[in-house]
């Protein structure tokens, strides 16, 4: 037991990072320096360097902040009075000797159990680290050109990630999560011993191929479905558009999207609100608007209430429109991949109406047949409509479709930060609503069945809200004071503002049926 424990500790210890002072001319891609952001100095990694009129500009990613906050900064904002971290040179995987194990400051009773858990986790985690390292290796852009893919540079991010993991470990061991099972429908056994399943999963992973997300495997996974990538090489790191104009708004893109390459040189890309076509110049755009006769998403309206309409659009029949939609949404979804075409997806587009037409507010895509039981592939509320409650409507609608299909559904992973918060809020509201209706007991599977949520998601929600506890030697669901208070607050807000939900009577929809041939992406 003891040697294993110490081996684990060593694996998480950061490698010594090469530090030193730098000058503007020695700064290179991969260097981590302190950059001023909103009055504070933040550690940031340089992803690209550009020279504009003799002045250098650096594209930086702030550590511990989402990539959507990455930006170009002038040379003046880089603090050269502090030491910078040089990218670590490529080196073989080290197996270092045991270091002084940090005493865990947890209770003895815990320790024994946690120990057993950790031992099993250990091989898998080491592998994940390895894999992540490899991924980052190939994902780092070359130092000379901006974002030239394919060229391999040094493992620049390794140090930062390591640091993060250590910090996480110190906080609590329980934060480390385990894959329980990939498929949401897996809970067939009567009793699910989560602990045992987790261990089994860990063991299975330990014997699995060395790299959990090799590029080839990832692409194969994408080929047969799925729209989200976990492979860093699939994610271009430097944003390519500076502004887009759409409808009544000008929006700053968050991420890279493979719009025509020459658009990276224009200040503003104009996007037609109806057909989502893209134009690099204002004249072109106005000419297009003079001719474009589309007034709503080009599909069948399947839902209408006083507030919004939903349109169902088949990627195979509306290839151009759906491609345009994907390009647009890629600007705001980091892990979305456009590697393959849109054929195997249906797009459910939410729009608000006025005399000008139907304005796209948000959408979610859905695989025509999801092997893993996902009911949403990508989901997005356009930035100009965010924080207005549209996301919840979209999620609600996706579950309404699942109910009509008689299936349980869950969104495709990975979720984005905003996605996680959106879903958590929806799940919490839905489940607490049910639990507050006066019932005295509930079972998790039934909760899932009435809400079309997977058992896993129900469990996740309850657990996240600290609602599963033990009392008198059995598990109970506890409506904590915090949850009840939030529920009451929500209800009061609804009384004043009214509640926007999806009325299932207004949904005119039957699950579309696809023949095998139309589903298997033939041309």
């Amino acid at each position: 037991m003891v040697p294993k424990e110490s081996a684990r500790e060593s694996a998480d210890t950061p490698e010594p990072v090469e530090k030193g002072f730098a000058t503007l001319s020695t700064l290179q891609v991969g260097v981590k320096a302190f950059v001023e952001k909103e009055g504070e100095k933040r550690k940031a990694e340089i992803l690209a360097i550009q020279s504009k009129k003799g002045k250098l500009a650096f594209y930086v990613h702030y550590e511990e902040f989402n990539k959507r906050l990455d930006e170009w900064v002038p040379e003046g904002r880089i603090d050269l009075s502090k030491e910078v971290e040089w990218p670590a040179p490529e080196k073989p995987e080290k197996k270092k000797a045991a270091q002084t194990s940090k005493a865990s400051n947890k209770s003895k009773a815990d320790a024994a159990l946690a120990q057993a858990l950790r031992d099993k986790k250990n091989p898998k985690r080491a592998q994940q680290r390895q894999a992540r390292l490899d991924r980052e290796l190939s994902g780092t852009p070359d130092s000379q050109s901006i974002n030239l893919p394919g060229k391999v540079s040094r493992a620049s991010k390794a140090g930062g990630k390591e640091n993060r993991e250590i910090k996480q470990d110190k906080d609590s061991v329980t934060v480390i999560s385990e894959v329980i099972d990939g498929t949401p429908k897996a809970e067939d056994e009567d009793m699910v011993d989560l602990m045992e399943m987790a261990d089994a999963a860990a063991a299975a992973k330990a014997q699995a191929p060395h790299e959990p997300f090799s590029r080839e495997e990832e692409i194969e996974k994408l080929r047969t479905g799925g729209s989200m990538t976990q492979n860093q090489t699939e994610i271009s790191r430097v944003r390519n558009l500076s502004h887009i104009q759409m409808g009544k708004h000008e929006i700053e893109p968050w991420y890279f999207s493979p719009y025509p390459q020459e658009f990276s040189e224009v200040d503003m890309v104009y996007i037609c609100e109806s057909c989502l076509s893209y134009f690099g110049g204002l004249k072109q755009f106005t000419r297009h608007r003079a001719k474009c006769s589309l007034l709503h998403p080009p599909g069948n309206e399947i839902y209408r209430d006083e507030y919004v309409s939903f349109f169902e659009i088949d990627g195979r029949r509306q290839r151009t429109w759906c491609r345009n939609l994907c390009l647009l949404s890629k600007l705001f979804l980091d892990h979305k991949t456009l590697y393959y075409d849109v054929d195997p997806f249906l797009f459910y587009c939410m729009a608000i109406r006025d005399e000008h037409g139907c304005h796209l507010v948000g959408y979610f895509s859905k695989e025509k047949e999801s092997v893993e039981g996902y009911n949403v592939a990508c989901i997005l509320t356009l930035p100009q409509y965010q924080r207005k409650g549209f996301g919840k409507l979209l999620i609600d609608f996706s579950y309404e479709l699942s109910k009509r299909e008689g299936k349980l559904g869950s969104p495709e992973k990975p979720l984005s930060d905003l996605g996680l918060l959106g879903y958590r809020a929806y799940w919490q509201e839905t489940i607490v609503d049910l639990l507050m209706d006066g019932r005295t007991d509930a079972n998790i599977e039934e909760l899932g069945a009435t809400t079309a949520m997977t058992t896993n998601d129900v469990l996740h929600t309850l657990q996240n809200l600290n609602m599963i506890k033990t009392s008198k030697n059995q598990h109970v669901i506890v409506l904590t004071d915090a949850v009840v208070a939030q529920w009451k607050k929500q209800k009061e807000k609804e009384k004043i503002k009214g509640k926007r939900t999806i009325d299932s009577d207004k949904l005119q929809w039957r699950p579309p049926v696809f023949t095998a041939s139309s589903r298997t992406w033939n041309w």
Binding site: R132, P260, E262, E301, R323
Partner: protein
């Protein structure tokens, strides 16, 4: 004992009903570490991003209690645009009463695909300056011609963007490929616009003038290029079997049948409409002749009977009879049995017998007479060959010839077993 208990506690059943309690009902002093020992389910967020500052801030605020409303993840802002929205997006939308059904594609809805930019605008202005007022080229016409140029060269030289040595097409070649999307009004401008198009095309190394996405070109660089998107998914090869052949045949058969049915329906609709047209023509004729008659009457000074000439005489239906019959039928069962006269109910055997004999007699007489009628003017023609009636006469509708027959198409020969 203690450890055994803990192990039992860890098992959480998703099928069992769990009691719902308020926080105050739970004994807080009891250590609930068993609950904590349920491994956390993955958040679903990528590991590297899970620790992001803003996300963690919101999550911890949410766990601290319901005051998370004002904490959110900051995102780049969307601001109001200075463009004239009203001019760009006119108020054309009328919401139909029923849910919208729509299947036109973007290409169907955007007119000519080429959109002119500032450079084209300058060229067009210069071109029009040289022309008299009535021969000016409009922006629409300009775009129609440019679209046609682009389309033809795309068809003729699909690989122009790959091979930089491809020559730019000549005007003659381009005009040869024009189809009916180029209207007669635009055609004359092709010669004027061609030099401009050629220059621009040369500037872009014979690439398409409209910015386009980068699709796969089967080059080695494709795979790592983040700009290459929307790749095809390779078709899965299906195994050819007798069962599949039969299935395909059956499906073709069904298609054919459905097609024939709908074709017949269309035919009937056409017939119906023709008949309606005929009827209208007849009505018109009648009306005109009546007018002529009226004129004639006027010239002869006859005044009465005008009304009949103007109105179609429709025989009024006689509803009374129906109503009466219905009333009688309705009344009869409601009559109480006791009120009916007794005599009418009694059926005498003699009467019945006489009636029966009577009917037999009339039946026999009738048949006798009919037989005589049949044999009247009888000529024996049996030596003549019996010819079938003419085919066209037998068809009730000579206009519609069914193409459908139940002969199965020859199934395609199975592939030679190269893989066997």
């Amino acid at each position: 004992m203690v450890t055994a208990q803990r192990f039992r506690q860890r098992k959480l059943s998703v099928k069992q009903s769990l009691p719902i309690l308020r926080e105050s009902d739970v004994d807080q002093s009891l250590d609930d570490d068993a609950a904590r020992h349920i491994p956390r389910i993955e958040t679903g967020v990528e590991k590297g991003e899970e620790t992001e500052h803003h996300l963690q801030a919101v999550i911890s605020a949410a766990q601290a209690g319901g005051t998370a409303a004002h904490i959110y993840i900051p995102t780049p802002e969307a601001v109001a645009s200075s463009l004239q929205y009203e001019a760009l997006y006119p108020r054309h939308f009328r919401q139909p009463a029923t849910y919208i059904r729509f299947s036109s594609t973007v290409e169907d809805c955007v007119g000519s695909p080429y959109c002119m930019d500032e450079e084209d605008e300058a060229f067009l202005r210069e071109l029009n300056a040289k022309k008299p007022q009535e021969e000016q080229c409009t922006e629409d016409q300009f775009e129609v011609v440019m679209s046609a140029f682009e389309r033809v060269s795309e068809i003729r030289q699909p690989f122009a963007s790959v091979d930089p040595n491809t020559p730019i097409l000549s005007l003659d070649e381009l005009e040869g490929g024009f189809d009916d999307t180029v209207d007669d009004a635009s055609r004359p401008f092709a010669a004027d616009i061609y030099p401009h198009w050629k220059d621009r095309r040369r500037d872009r190394e014979n690439h398409s003038l409209m910015s386009s996405l980068k699709f796969e070109r089967n080059a080695d660089t494709d795979d790592g290029d983040p700009y290459v998107c929307f790749r095809r998914r390779e078709v899965r090869q299906v195994r050819k079997t007798r069962g599949r052949d039969a299935q395909a045949t059956e499906r073709l058969f069904t298609f054919r049948r459905q097609y024939e049915t709908s074709r017949y329906l269309c035919h009937l609709v056409v017939q119906f409409q023709r008949a309606k047209a005929d009827q209208l023509a007849q009505d018109e004729l009648i009306f005109r002749q009546r007018r002529a008659l009226l004129e004639a009457k006027r010239s002869l000074g006859i005044k009465e009977g005008d009304m009949e000439l103007l109105i179609n005489q429709v025989k009024a239906p006689r509803p009374e009879a129906g109503v009466q019959r219905a009333r009688v039928a309705g009344q009869q069962p409601s009559l109480p049995a006791a009120v009916r006269p007794m005599e009418s109910d009694v059926i005498m055997y003699e009467d019945q017998k006489a009636k029966r004999a009577d009917s037999i007699r009339t039946f026999v007489n009738e048949h006798k007479q009919r037989h005589q009628v049949w044999n009247e003017g009888y000529v024996d023609d049996t030596w003549r060959p019996i010819t079938p009636p003419l085919e066209s006469a037998a068809l009730d509708d000579p206009e519609f010839v069914s193409l459908f027959n139940r002969i199965l198409p020859t199934p395609p020969t199975s592939a030679e077993g190269s893989d066997s």
